[in-house]
Symmetry: C2
Subunit: 219 residues, 2 copies
């Protein structure tokens, strides 16, 4: 499989943290819930958070057919997507070497609108990314809802992954300073599912959620 | 105080979720660690994650003087910053009404480079945002480190905050369906501090970290 690296997606700062394999990218995308998408509108590079899903070598997004994001994506412009997972604070002896442990993916590409069967499949991919098994449990989109929604996909062909792990890297002479240094790990936890107070609260929590809270994701 | 709202930062999708007060913005910025900044380079709206700090009505960023991000910010272009905190998955009865609970801030503005005293103060703001009290505990930046680093600030004058909380909002007729609906809360937790294995591991964990793990942040 071709790697994701191009001149414009090569990691220049801390290049040893750069990775360019498809599997590296998939791992980051599959672990998070929200991506930040950059698109150009009136010469401003807007950044908006949105849900997504991934299947094979595409990332799927959706939105109102009237949204500024969707209208700009469908204009054929090149957009940029970032997904970042924060894994910890890196507390060095020097201010300069303070950092964070993270996994971050950047994708550059053009969106393609999906219609018909492919559109419904795209919505399934996004829904299943939120909660695996949820598509089969929920009421499917009707014609009116399908008309109000646009679904697009962007190929995972050009991008990069940047990962930092481990303790701080201080200057050699600073290791003797009497300053605590190390990592403060950060992780994402699920709370107890809260049943909708406006609905029937006797319905049992589905297996999809029970499996989820075993920890497939760590957003 | 003037509100952050302008035509281009007015929330159009789900407008009732939009907030435009300075305090609303401060709350979101003060609760997170990483922002996503959008900048234009070769007509592509790149999105890059980075650390930040806030003091009064400015957000502070730093980076290598050679980084593409910094060079583009200092070119005088208008950039966009997003900070998003994910608070939960919203599981509706219908696929269409699935959503997330979140707090998201968008800022639009131009970066101003800081020099001299103001630059050092900017670094302090960013360091203290990572860990309150850490500036006084760490070895201060030396001349070489200061020369390698650029510090900028962007005024918090134009933007918006978008917040979703609470249970799903389904179509009226769907409330009778035999489908579990509700929220799955997501929160961020700190792990046990890990002392740098390459350093003196007998140094006691500082109060800054002990206070942190009491939960000022929830990133």
């Amino acid at each position: 499989m071709k790697e994701l690296r191009t001149e414009r997606t090569t990691v220049k700062r801390s290049p040893s943290r750069g990775k360019y394999g498809r599997e590296d990218l998939f791992e980051v995308l599959d672990a998070a819930y929200v991506c930040q998408i950059g698109f150009l509108h009136d010469q401003i590079p807007y950044v908006i958070p949105t849900a997504y899903g991934r299947d094979n070598e595409y990332i799927y997004l959706h939105g109102s057919t009237k949204s500024r994001l969707i209208l700009n994506l469908l204009s054929g412009q090149v957009c940029c997507i970032n997904v970042t997972l924060l894994d910890g604070l890196v507390l060095a002896r020097s201010v300069f070497h303070h950092s964070m442990n993270y996994r971050s993916a950047v994708i550059i590409g053009k969106a393609e609108e999906l219609v018909g069967e492919a559109k419904m499949r795209g919505l399934k991919i996004i829904t299943e990314h939120i909660l695996k098994g949820r598509w089969g449990e929920s009421r499917s989109p009707n014609d009116k809802e399908m008309k109000a929604t646009a679904v697009v996909r962007i190929p995972l062909q050009e991008g990069s992954v940047k990962v930092r792990t481990g303790p701080p890297k201080d200057e050699k002479e600073d290791y003797d300073l009497d300053i605590w240094a190390g990592e403060l790990p950060i992780s994402t936890e699920y709370g107890k599912p809260l049943a909708d107070p406006d609905g029937n609260r006797t319905i049992e929590i589905p297996d999809s959620i029970k499996k989820m809270t075993d920890g497939r994701h760590n957003a």
